[in-house]
């Protein structure tokens, strides 16, 4: 069976309506028994040997004539088909009520076009295609790597929230190079508020000993009147900018937003992140598992797929969620969650 290009579409006739569309979910039905195929569908039917040629071109010649990210879209389509899912282009004619974003609509296992239960809208890209943060949140993302393997991500727009900690008692501190020392911390500042860290680590040193605060912790406490240092909160922010640049303002904004939502942020350094977060802290001696890793990014950040793969893989390995917080340091914070998806 051969397909042909007509009016900018790839059309296949014969028993195509029954054989390809009704039985296997390919294409958009035309009048009679004809079906219009998306290039990715045509390539897949050529690959399977169900269609012999498109205007004389076999699989190799057909895909060689297509450009851009076609290879990635084909690899994603073929991968999900091989896993037993139906998916169609996210366009009128292929699916009722197509979504605003995404290249494909993927149906629940066992369901199919045109009106089966939809699992998610899916964007499909190659590993070298940049992905703006603004394009994520309401679609899943499939990335075909250079060897043609496909990695899937689910994305969302969560609202972080947790159970608040006690209001900290006021204390004094000394700004060192890039930390703040509190030699006589008030009872509970560390133990129940989870501010700072006991100097000398958990393992050693005298009881009731000094704690050190990070500059973001100190700036937050000083801003609420709970910490006094020479020069006040402004001196801490100034020091923060001196050692981190404008990234300090963004990190402070996210720290404040999380604390204000009742979530406790602590450094995420060991995980290469800005923060790890605890939704609930009663006492540091009875600390649960931290639930999320937070990365602070400027607004309009554009991800490389490799960056997403690294962050999400690491977070999954330590059983945490990956949360991106986009902010310029002022105004509202945009929260984006990205996780692993296993179709």
């Amino acid at each position: 069976m051969e397909a042909h290009r007509r009016d900018g579409e790839i059309v296949v006739g014969g028993d195509a309506r029954q054989r390809f569309h009704d039985a296997h979910g390919y294409g958009r039905p035309l009048d009679g028994n004809e079906v219009a195929l998306d290039p990715v569908e045509a390539a897949h039917l050529l690959f399977r040997g169900d269609v012999a040629a498109v205007d004389g071109a076999d699989f190799e010649a057909f895909v060689a004539g297509l450009s851009g990210d076609f290879g990635a879209r084909f690899l994603v389509y073929a991968d999900l088909r091989a896993r037993g899912f139906y998916l169609v282009p996210a366009r009128e004619g292929w699916v009722d009520d197509p979504p605003d974003a995404g290249d494909f609509v993927v149906f629940e296992r066992g369901a199919g076009p045109p009106d089966g239960a939809v699992a998610y809208a899916l964007s499909a890209v190659g590993e070298r295609t940049d992905v703006p943060a603004s394009a994520l949140g309401h679609v899943a993302l499939a990335v075909a790597d250079e060897e043609g393997e496909v990695t899937y991500f689910v994305t969302g727009r969560p609202e972080p929230g947790g159970g608040a900690t006690d209001e900290p008692k006021a204390t004094d501190g000394t700004v060192l190079a890039d930390r703040v020392l509190v030699t006589e911390p008030p009872e509970g500042l560390y133990e129940r508020g989870f501010y700072g860290q006991r100097l000398g680590g958990e393992n050693g040193g005298p009881d009731g000993r000094p704690i050190q605060l990070s500059l973001v912790e100190a700036a937050y406490l000083a801003g609420r009147g709970a910490l006094s240092v020479d020069g006040g909160a402004a001196a801490i922010v100034e020091r923060g900018r001196a050692v981190e640049g404008e990234r300090f303002d963004r990190r402070l904004a996210v720290y404040e937003a999380l604390r204000d939502r009742g979530v406790v942020p602590k450094t995420g350094f060991k995980f290469g992140a800005d923060f790890r977060t605890y939704d609930s802290v009663e006492h540091v001696d009875d600390l649960g598992h931290s639930e999320a890793l937070v990365r602070v990014l400027p607004p309009g950040h554009v991800f490389t797929p490799r960056e997403l793969a690294l962050d999400v893989r690491l977070a999954a390995g330590v059983r945490k969620r990956t949360l991106f917080a986009l902010t310029d340091g002022e105004g509202p914070i945009e929260w984006l969650e990205v996780g692993r998806l296993t179709p």
Copy 2:
């Protein structure tokens, strides 16, 4: 007991020689019972309360008067002391035969200065201090994060090597946008050489079906005369540079070096790396665990500690080594391994 500054050193007298140096490994013995203390040792004795003041300054005043990465060095020193290790400044007088690099010499557990068994030389930095790749390879690295917790890394200069695969048989291919299609692959190219990937994934599609090669794989094969495409190897390299820039030359150089050493590199995309590597491949149906993640970097690369934390944490989570390959795409490749160290 008080210490005093004298001729640029911090000196403590009384029974210091016996009490601090002989019994606990602090300082450099002077004539009589006096001991010269490094600032980090003085700070630790102040912190412990064993020395009351240095020229009248208590712990808080003393550390507030020191600048730069002193905080990080103190936190690392205190952390290892709390874990029960002796460590001393990597300088004449504190240790016999001090190393060329590193801030401290750390002794084996139970050993101590001046002539105990040395475990490693250690550089200590804060999380905001850049670390040139050239400074690593012969020292361990301790990073004090913004909350004062310390993460340790071991570094080395390995020579990768593995058991070679069969020489691939010649074949033809077609360059697509950023991959190469081989519709009639010779037997064993994928299965025993582990070049490319079966199109449509492992799960589906006809037997003996096409494979796709990444551009680095294709450029390597074409360069050895095992793959013919329009325009030859030069056309593949040109395409690679078009989609990846000069990074392509660096990645190709590392791919070639690994193959020439008998190691099989495959994409490391799922781990956010350039390659994952197999030291030995007999057949893809009997593939072992990949041993290492390889990241390709330009010569003279400078790490942020956060980048190291992310890469090493991820690799440890998937039980692989982290290998950095530094190259400008020509000439010898510098191999650097970085792993987790748990003192």
